[in-house]
Each structure stands twice: as C-alpha cells, then as structure tokens.
Symmetry: C2
Subunit: 375 residues, 2 copies
C-alpha cells in the first residue's frame, strides 16, 4: 500500500504526504539508518519523539544476522526492533557491491561469501524480494547493481554504465514479478541508475516509469564521485521522474546536499552521516559544523546549538560532551547521535514549512548564511 | 546538610529517609555509579525515571578528567553532568590504592603518576576534601586507605590491618578539620576499616563514632576476599554503627549481597555490577541471572524479565537484545544497563516496602526462592 498526495510545490521543491502500511510520512523527509535493526545509539522511542516517521533497515545485514527465520517469528522487522511506524529496506545490492573482490556478479544475481561466517551465498532479485517480504518493510527496494563511479582507479565509461543500468532494469522486472507472486502488501520502488551520464539516466527512468511502480529512487550517487557530479545528477534526474510518485535520493548526504535535493524535487533521503559523524564528534548545527574534540570546547558552557530543541542541547553543555567523548563514555555518542538526527529531522521540518508557505528560496538563502557563520 | 529519619525497623533492617542538599533519599537505597560524571550508557533523565535518587561520582577520575577547573565553572558536578538530585563522591582513596606499584603511601598522603598523562600527583586528605568541595557532592567521603585483603599473594595480617586502619582514622580527623575549614555545606562520612578482623572494626567504628560525623561507611569489603569473609563483616559491623546515622556498605554487590546487607542494617549501597555486567550480557532477573549471549535466546520472544517494568522489558525481546549484542550494537548495553539498574532500584523499593510492613524475613524467603527458579 502506498498513497502519495502532493500538498504544495515551490519551484521544483515538493511538500507531500505518503501513506504506507505503518502510517503517514510527511515529505520531504529524512530516514535514519538502522542497519542491523537499530539506529546506532538511539532508542526507537527517542526517534519517535524527535519526529522520525520512517527508518531504514539493511536487507543484507539482517539476512546475515539475525537471519530471516528469527525475524519471521516476529512477523517482520517492526515488532522485532520495536518500531511501529514505517520502515524502508534496501535490497542488499549496495552491500554486495561493496564486497568488491569477494563477490561475482552474473545475470542471475550475486554470489559471495558471508563476511560473518564465510557461508557461500547467492543473492538474486527473487531472493531479495523474498527476504524483504519476511522483513515486511513498508517500502521494498528493487535489487539493483549500484554502478560504481570508478573501479581500480578507472572511472566507469558510458558503455560499462549502460550495461550496468540495463542489468538493473532487467532485475527490476524480475523483482516486480516476484513481489507480485509473493503477494507482498507493501510498496516496491524502482531505482534509476546510469552513472554520471544523463542520457543513460533518462533511458533508465523512462523504462522504470513504464513499469508504473509506486515510487522511484535515484541510485548510484554518493558512491565516491566528485561533489559537482553528484549535484549535476541531482539537478537532472529527480525532476524527470513521474510527478505523482515519491522520489528517494539514496545515501545522501550533508545538510547542504539535502537542501539541494529538495530544491530539485527529492522527497526522501537516507544517510548514515548524522549518526556516524556523531560518533566521531562531528556535530551539525544551524551555524555550521562543530568538531567536539577541539580543545576550545573544554569549558564551553553553551549547548551544541542554542537554537536546537533536542534533549542533548536542552540538558548538556559542550564542555560536558567534550569530556564524555574524551573519556570514551557511551553517553557521548548517545547524545551526539540524538542531536545530529534531531538536526536533520528539524531541517526537513523547516523545509516542509518553507515549501508550504512558498518561501523555499528565501529560506535556503538564510540557511546557507546561517551555516556559514560558524558555531 | 544531612537529616536522617528512621521510619521503621524490622529485625536489624531499617527503613529511613535521608535529606541532603539536593533532595530526599529513601533508604535502603542503591546508588548507580557515574565514575566520570556519567552512569555508563544511561541518560540522567532515564535514571530519574527509574527512581534513582542519588548517584555516585569518582573524585579520582573527575580530578584527572575534566579536572576541577572545568567543574568549578559549572559550580559543581550537578550542573556539569545534568543531574539535579543527590550525588555522593568517594575520596579517591580506593582508586589510588588500585594503582598498586604506581603509587607510594605515606603518613601525609599518596604520591602517584597520573594514568592519563603521567603527571606526578599527590593526593592527601586535605586535597580530597578540596576537590570534593568543588564537586559540591551532597555526601563527601573521607580519604582513607582501603586495607587490601591480600598483597602479593599474602593475606593481610592483623598487624598490617591495624596500622592501615589507624592511618585511616588519622586521615579521618584531617578530613574533618579540612571539611570544616572549607565550610563545605554538605555531609562528610567516615569509613570503618579493619580488614577481616572484627576487633579492629570495633576499634575503628568506636573512634569514628566519637567524631560524631553525619554518616558512616563500611570500607575494605568487596576487595577480593572470599564471600564468607565479606558476609561475616557485614553481619558484624553495620549493626554496631550509631543507629541514628546512615550506614553505607561500599562497593557491594550482587542482589543477594544487597539483601544480606539490608538484613544487617545497611542503608546505602553502590556497585558497578549492574552496568558492567549489563555490558557483558549478564542480566539480573527476578528468577535468576540470564546470560544474554547464550544461543538459546536467539529467537526467544519473551522480555528479559516478565515481571519487570523497565523500558527494555516493556519494548524488546530477548531475541532482539541477543541480536544487538551479537552485532556489537550500542543499543544492547544501553538497554541492558537500563534493565539491570532498574532491577537493582526495584529490589530496593521492594525491600523498603517489606520493612515498612514488617515482613522482611518472609519477603527474603520468597526472593531467594524466586531467584533460584531460573529465568
């Protein structure tokens, strides 16, 4: 089930509402990443409290641990991980691609050895659909080949990008057929590939659009390409996708990347950056990024971000967080992850409001000026 | 400031209320340990929610990191660590004692090299009082020498235990004088030493009682001695302390140790066991201890403890926690620490009720039967 209601537009930016089997998602929206069925360091109740409406799970990781048999006994991921709202799962394609030399890609699928126990495994479009059906995620991603930006130091040429994109299209059709056969009650998204080549992107999206899937993603960005190439694809592809369906930019990115994506008509984002950076003391604030490990924060009584409404900013100082980080205390990543995720979700909230009020461009100018100020 | 009101007794067990500068503490009570100004993996708000009324901080650790200058700018530990209720700080004596070969003890104090940066430091009764005054902890512990149970494989004999106990008594007098001079508005506790020798314990407590301090601790237990020796001292010393003052058994222990301590008239306990064991997958339940890493929990849909009211037991299964632990997810120690601390605080709540209703012996029989059942 997926319903998509476009509520307002402002230039290419869109404010919409997505209805999935586990509830409503207001877009533009950011999806915190819960690789192993847990957004690292953050309780589901805290995610709900900060306004998260949908989180991501990684099919590849959950397949290996705890395995589908365990999740089947919980009738899916929601009850297993204690999250009652929506979940999107990726297909496992990106992770098997990341295994590099440890995997072999064929028309049929990807053979690889489990990095957990060495088991020889075979992931195909059909297997990915079967796993995601057990996970019962509200949004199921097609199994695709994530076209690399470069391999062995050589940038992927148009011929290789075309072959990869076409393989992903054939896999999209197999996914759709298997998804139907399984009578999966959720929503299958197709993934536009085509590397850094606009013409390939257009061929990919035209053929996916013909399949009339309930939503589409832009894949194969944020895979090591220069920022200007990513921005070029983001400026090109989203606006060409079917307007009455949700658009998801996979694995992106910095706050500025999210704003740029929304400006070009993207509805959904996911990224490990808020939580991973938090664990490394890299904090996002309205007035620019803050490196918590800098000695200047040793006795700074201010919160991370004086304009932030999160629990970390309401209760604790930079000095305390600096101290916790220095001592390796678990409370440091707990609080900084809370803050960074809250920052991302608040950023999306502000963008939704700005679009509703048709002042997105002015909001963006202020956002960029604020971020340049310094924390 | 310290007021101690004895509300009920049942045998030697006592139900009392302690008033300190940052609020009320109902005893018997357990104090979660926040070594570096953070109870590992648990938000202060979560501690308050589970009923914690007083937490512990370690003077030695906080002296080294973040240092007194930082904590002074926050006017003490409460605002620095975001905990508004009571705090007890130890004196640093136990930690310098633990440094072993890296320290030299003299009449004046303890010389040692900082394990953080190698700085040569000198901790004396006066310095301990000065640091704890900056920390502004509600209960200040005297600087003492924690008499070891054994050194280099040889059990401490009565002569050595006597010399150590007498040094601690002289240090208690210096602490008291310095505490007065500093006009510290909080409460100083003396520490009974004397090793495993009842006669020495009696001499120590008699001389401390003469000092008329607002509270007393039993130190030098839980330092590697056999359980039967610890139980012998716990059966001996607490009941001989002044009845109208709080009694604190330092660094103890298992749930059974706490029940035994209460049965012998102890009011306050602290121990790292609930949080440390949680991080190692060792969970306390009403029906005995549960080893989360055991494969039998792989698909167990039950909560850790069906009778427990904590957030972890309300929302998550053994299977999910087993999975998180196996994947090294931070949420595992967060949830298990929450549960173990909740278990300890609930245990104290039950004991307070049982004493009020004068059914402590019956409650204890049931507790022991339940714990023997198996989780």
């Amino acid at each position: 089930m997926l319903e998509f209601e476009l509520l307002a537009t402002d230039g290419l930016a869109r404010r919409a509402r997505l209805r999935l089997n586990h509830g409503v998602v207001d877009t533009p929206q950011f999806m915190p990443v819960g690789t192993y069925g847990s957004v690292k360091g953050v309780l589901p109740a805290a995610l709900a409290q900060m306004g998260a409406q949908i989180i991501l799970g990684n099919t590849f990781h959950l397949w290996l641990r705890p395995g589908v048999d365990v999740i089947r006994t919980f009738e899916g991921l929601h009850r297993f991980e204690g999250w009652s709202q929506s979940i999107l799962t990726d297909s496992g394609g990106f992770q098997v691609w990341s295994l590099g030399a440890m995997r072999t890609i064929s028309e049929e699928g990807v053979r690889f050895a489990s990095p957990v126990n060495g088991d020889r495994l075979f992931l195909t479009p059909e297997v990915s659909m079967q796993i995601q059906t057990v996970l019962n995620s509200d949004v199921v991603m097609q199994f695709d080949e994530c076209t690399p930006y470069e391999s062995g130091g050589r940038i992927t040429d148009e011929g290789a990008a075309r072959a990869s994109m076409e393989l992903s299209l054939r896999w999209a059709r197999r996914c759709s057929a298997e998804f139907e056969r399984l009578e999966n009650p959720n929503a299958l998204f197709g993934i536009v590939q085509g590397g850094m080549f606009e013409a390939l992107r257009e061929q990919s999206l035209a053929q996916l659009a013909e399949m009339d899937l309930p939503g589409y993603a832009i894949g194969g960005v944020s895979v090591g390409e220069p920022k200007q190439d990513m921005r070029r694809i983001v400026a090109h592809t989203p606006q060409r996708l079917p307007p009455h369906k949700p658009r998801y930019l996979m694995g992106v990115g910095t706050p500025e990347d999210l704003v740029d994506g929304v400006a070009h008509g993207v509805d959904l984002f996911d990224c490990v950056m808020p939580t991973r950076n938090a664990r490394n003391g890299h904090l996002f604030t309205r007035f620019g990024d803050l490196r918590l490990r800098n000695a200047r924060y040793k006795d700074d009584p201010r919160p991370i971000d004086e304009t932030c409404g999160c629990h970390a900013c309401g209760q604790f100082s930079r000095a305390y967080l600096h101290h916790l980080d220095r001592c390796g205390e678990m409370l440091a990543p707990m609080l900084t992850s809370l803050h960074n995720l809250h920052f991302y979700l608040q950023l999306m909230r502000e963008m939704r409001e700005a679009i509703e009020q048709r002042r997105f461009a002015a909001w963006r100018t202020q956002f960029e000026a604020d971020r340049a100020r310094g924390p």
